[in-house]
């Protein structure tokens, strides 16, 4: 399919996700607890989206490769080495904002 409103259902039934480096894709997949391999488009190297994928890889949450190394990655991957992705904490933002605005 070209476009779907939500991938949540597909994500839930997947065992492995291979995706581009878009932040939404990365985060949604990691939050569903699915192992993720991010494939980076070498031609878009200046794209800031890489920052997030690189950091998440550094922190051990996902694997990454480029188009030419994908097969190799799939063959040699160790998904058990990936760390579980902790949820974000919007409650911290709410607390901060309450202080800023003066709500008790």
């Amino acid at each position: 399919f070209r476009f779907k409103e939500s991938l949540a259902e597909d994500l839930r039934s997947a065992d492995l996700v291979i995706s581009h480096a878009g932040a939404g894709s990365c985060l949604e997949t990691l939050e569903q607890g699915k192992p993720l391999i991010v494939v980076i488009n070498d031609k878009l190297m200046n794209n800031h989206q890489l920052e997030l994928a690189k950091q998440l890889h550094k922190d051990g949450y996902l694997l990454y490769c480029n188009c030419s190394t994908l097969v190799e990655t799939l063959q040699s991957m160790d998904l058990s080495a990936l760390k579980p992705f902790p949820p974000g904490q919007p409650e911290k933002f709410a607390l901060f904002l309450d202080e800023v605005v003066g709500f008790q």
Binding site: G24, L52, Q55, G88, P90, K92, F93, A94, F96, F103
Partner: protein
Amino acid sequence: TGGHTTEMLRLLSCLSESYSPRHYIFADSDQMSEAKIRSFEQKRAETFSNSQFTLDRIPRSREVRQSWTSSVVTTLYSILYSLPLTYKLKPDLILCNGPGTCVPICVSSLLLGLLGIKRAIIVYVESICRVETLSLSGKILYYLSDHFIVQWPNLKEKYPKSVYLGRIV
């Protein structure tokens, strides 16, 4: 737009009902945000009976990779357009997280503050996508906002006046 809206709605998810009424402003070219916002507010109305919100669209200040000179023109146009809207809404608090749409609104708000009409607190939250570098809106609003929040420690180091709360979306 898209990812910004999703992040913004997550940021709003734990706010108390004191943050009401909520006025959402987004780009006229944005197709998907309206649906996401309505869905969020609908869920919210299930818990909080007096939930109030409005939606407004403003011309997009800048397309991705638009040239510098034309960006200045389109941003100025967006500012002119946002002034009456900001004047009408007279917000106490402005929350923004990075799309070009936020710059004209914040500039309008600052102008209204300078004119003694209405002073809003401006809180900017840089996107989770920004690990090493700030977005263009971020670079501008780092100096114009009252509180500037980043979600990665590298940015806190580079921009010492920012606030780091960890990952909040």
